[in-house]
Amino acid sequence: MGSNSIVSNRWMSEKMNCLDLSPNSNSDNEEEEVHVLAVDDSLIDRKVIERLLKISSCKVTAVDSGWGALKLLGLLDDDEEDKSSSSSSSSSSSSAGFEGLKVDLIITDYCMPGMTGYELLKKIKESSSFREIPVVIMSSENVMARIDRCLEEGAEEFIAKPVKLSDVKRLRDYYMATREIRSVQSSSNVNKRKLQESFDVSTSSSPPSISPSPSPSSASPPSLFSSSAPCSPSSLDSPTRRIKMTSFD
């Protein structure tokens, strides 16, 4: 994945918050930190979630609105590029990388003026370049209809506010574990042939627990995490605090 790492290095130098990483040689899974984009209109909640994430060794960028989040991601200008041909190297994921922040996870409040967390979720899931980024919704009101709607739209989780350290640590562990799969998915557009080669090698032997079993050209892997189970609800936290999709979609 030589050209992928060149692109990633360029992304990194243009990002607002530079990750302090040595240049990647082969894949993104050498990055230690999960980069989280936190969206909340409440200053207090932003401060708290920022601190929760930093203490959990996450890199965090906090914005106060859905529009701010979309702008940071580079998604606002992305719609045109999605529709145009992506045969050149400026496929949606790499062009967005030039303009926007590369994040591993988005955590957003539900109730926000302007654009709600639900609307932000929809926009992200409608984007071909960003839909694989997991989105977690936070809310102080646990209305079942709201929760269902968010999960149906593709939210990974719905977390009750006030968010606790245990919630954040659990999220971080889960997304560290699933990061490798996502980086494979997003880079599959950039350099398919090289990926094909490396997967031919890895799938010939018995794969490690987190490596993706389907071919890189498939849209999303089936539930891969039965072995590593950081996401099994019973093992981690009271069921009332979180509602979890069982398959990574």
Partner: protein
């Protein structure tokens, strides 16, 4: 003698916190905030709480302004303020303030102006009590830090 002062202050702070928890003024979310305070962010709790005070007083002024307006009818706007107040109170562990907001919101959803006025008074009272106690707590912490000569994170108190 300095050491005795530090210990005494530490005990006083613990006692005050225990009282506030017992009274339901604070809940475990406040403890969570303290857990987030460390050497890299030694004033985290007071920073967040000061933002809370600032925002809360603005919200209280808005609520009072809305309700005391003789032509008041914008219960929806009041609901928005209350949701904000509820959210921030919950985020810092201000349990009693939050509970009054819940009751206040219920009255506003019923367009019950008299009920809202009562709730507002109660809210102002609870907020004042909380603010005074938290100020006491922070003052004790500052004194303890001075007496100790070094800065300890607040969470070591508990």
């Amino acid at each position: 003698m300095l050491g005795w002062g530090v210990d005494r202050l530490r005990a006083d702070m613990s006692r005050l916190l225990a009282i506030l928890f017992h009274q339901g003024v604070l809940d475990e979310q406040f403890l969570q905030l303290q857990q987030l305070q460390d050497e890299s962010s030694p004033n985290f709790v007071s920073e967040v709480v000061n933002i809370y005070f600032h925002e809360s007083e603005k919200l209280l002024r808005n609520l009072r302004g809305l309700l005391l307006d003789r032509e008041f009818s914008d219960y929806k706007k009041m609901g928005i303020h209350l949701n904000q107040f509820m959210g921030s109170s919950s985020s810092i562990g201000a349990k009693r303030v939050r509970n009054v907001c819940v009751a206040f919101r219920a009255a506003s959803e019923q367009n019950n102006r008299a009920g809202c006025l009562r709730a507002l008074e109660l809210l102002e009272h609870e907020y004042c009590y909380l603010k005074n106690k938290l100020h006491e707590l922070f003052q004790m912490e500052q004194q303890r830090v001075l007496a100790a000569g070094v800065r300890y994170p607040l969470h070591q108190q508990l």
